[in-house]
Symmetry: C2
Subunit: 388 residues, 2 copies
């Protein structure tokens, strides 16, 4: 290795990332977490976004469970869990998208993702505390999500005649993510079947002959010649790669590990901007105009996904090209996103790699992608060190 990544990642996580969120994001008055935080941690909105509330509970509880019980992380997780259990769900059990500071609901999406991060929060809290209430709520909401996935009309979005039936990569991914979490705690005989089902669906998005992961394919995996059908999100594809690689490792499924590391490899190459470095946010496979205005921006989270995914692929295959790519991603990202003055990463750069926003958190950026990638990378490097 070119650098002492273990030392670098420990410093980034424990000295720059976690302290930022401990200091600036916890609402000691009403509970839950602020996430609209400017470069120096100052608040620019007090609204609370449920994706980010659930993710922060999970992250603090995960740190308690896997790093240290002495840092007060469980309390930081618990106050968030209390807040979302008290305010996060409506009378029908759906999870809101956003709340005001006091917890009054502002917006509810006709999507499953608020529920997904709620389940992650409850699962990790169950693991941290042994309290079965958390696990029961995690189970309840998990099956609710599965039901919505099977019957999307129940989310309230009209199912119109011209809308194309398609599989969205995010769907199998969130199930694989939740099953990794739930499988630690819960022996449910149905999980194996869902894991196989979702793995198969996820793999339909990877067209090996073209080396491309498509965000949307038709239910049989066939390509759709529309902007949605041609859409790629390299960061998302790389994230799917590491989900599948971990699953393959867990199940000792060498074929899956092979495909997963190939996905990481190819998606990194597709996403890397040869002119300015970094990963594009969106691309159109046929180089038609992406509909997303932000397609050529460089976001923090594809970079964090790539850092961990490339390390993981290297550790699973021993192939040096993954380390070379990891070095490239690391140098590019740490130089531009990292902020030794205030901690945490910037989130949004233009194509050239210059910041468009000074914020450290917002509606979509919270205490999740950076600390997760750093923690997973640290754990991998520590294991590697023990093996060496």
């Amino acid at each position: 290795m070119n650098k002492d990544y273990l030392q670098i990642y420990r410093r980034e996580l424990f000295e720059r990332c976690i302290p930022f969120w401990e200091k600036h994001s916890v609402d000691n008055e009403f509970g839950g977490y602020f996430t609209c935080l400017d470069r120096d941690g100052s608040l620019f909105s007090t609204d609370k976004y449920m994706w980010l509330q659930g993710r922060a509970v999970w992250m603090f509880a995960r740190l308690h469970n896997e790093v240290s019980q002495d840092k007060g992380w469980l309390e930081l997780a618990r106050q968030g869990a209390d807040f979302i259990r008290k305010h996060g769900r409506n009378a029908e059990g759906r999870v809101y998208f956003s709340l005001d500071r006091q917890g009054r609901p502002i917006h509810i999406q006709r999507k499953i993702f608020s529920e997904v991060f709620y389940v992650m929060a409850m699962t990790e809290m169950a693991r941290a505390t042994g309290n079965q209430d958390y696990l029961e709520e995690a189970r309840e909401v998990f099956w609710q999500i599965y039901d919505y996935w099977q019957h999307p009309g129940k989310l309230g979005r009209p199912q119109l005649a011209g809308a194309r039936r398609m599989s969205s990569l995010a769907e199998p991914m969130v199930f694989l993510c939740l099953l990794e979490e739930l499988n630690r705690l819960d022996q449910d005989s149905r999980f194996d079947g869902i894991e196989k089902q979702m793995t198969a669906i996820a793999l339909r998005h990877y067209h090996r002959d073209r080396g491309l992961v498509f965000e949307h394919v038709d239910p049989d995996g066939e390509l759709i010649d529309t902007p949605q059908g041609r859409l790629q999100c390299p960061g998302h594809a790389i994230e799917m790669g590491w989900f599948l690689a971990r699953l393959g490792r867990k199940n000792q499924d060498e074929e899956l590990v092979g495909i997963a590391t190939e996905i990481i490899d190819k998606s990194f190459d597709v996403g890397w901007d040869p002119d300015h470095g970094g990963l594009f946010y969106f691309l159109d496979t046929e180089n038609r105009p992406p509909l997303q205005l932000e397609w050529n921006m460089k976001l923090w989270w594809p970079a964090t996904e790539a850092l961990y995914a490339l390390l993981l692929a290297w550790s699973l295959t021993g192939e040096k090209r993954f380390l070379e790519k990891h070095d490239r991603m690391h140098d590019w990202a740490f130089e531009r996103f990292s902020d030794p003055d205030h901690g945490e990463w910037l989130g949004y750069l233009d194509r050239r790699g210059e910041p468009t926003h000074q914020l450290k958190g917002g509606e979509w950026k919270g205490f999740f992608h950076l600390p997760r990638a750093l923690l997973y990378s640290i754990q991998l490097l520590e294991q590697q060190e023990r093996l060496d």
Copy 2:
């Protein structure tokens, strides 16, 4: 004037803009208009967006009504009007957001804007043809919009306890826009009251002491210290300025003309990027991070709004500074957006003014902002020429 703008705008409209849409956007098989058109006019999606269908009907019909009856524009408008009347509304009369090529519905928004452009289309078709069916449908949908505005819950979006009551600038603007259209054809005694009501609401968004137009204020016009409350969209503010200036001119209301031209003046100054030129898409009044990823992009439509608004302000006030600003906007925009090779303008530039997208049309860009601004500017300059 520094340039022969009348000649330049006529060439841009009649030789470069209209021919692009005549040639590439009309679906001769199923009716309606394609709008997902790449730089050279080639199709990258066949989906049809109802905002843009209604706007294109209005634009072609307006050209027929005010420029020439000999160019086939009425037929181009009529085939679009037929398509949206056949496919554009659901059983309850709501207007869809998008349809597939054949007209099957894909998506419906819980917003009023598809309806707004539907009314514009029907009104201008009524004016072009004298057919009362169009006018009756325009009236029907207009009152439906007014009802939705008074009772937003009827659009199906849950009204949640934490959601702030606020006035959105787009609301009074669309009513003022529709009243300008309907007042030509329809003598409805209620329109005067709504015009006064919406003018008052629009003006609450302009805080004269600060020289700023706010996209969202509370129902009494007070400022809201949230990202939404601090949001400015200079192009939108400038568009409101010229709506109000035309209204003031029509009603011989000098005070309103004065405020409206002041809004144009100040909003242009606020929006202009001193480093790279062009108008920012969004800004936060307190320089906090805007939540919009695309805030610093330079879009075509704020430029087109500014071109016409500044000419109008100059013609109403005689003040030379408006011409100076118009020259500045003109030179910047024509150099970067205009495409003599293929016609029509590019839509999306990065902060530096370099294209991020090659498309000429998409989900949001169609046959509307550029031709409307050019036509209105030509009409103004022709009138000016007659006065000189």
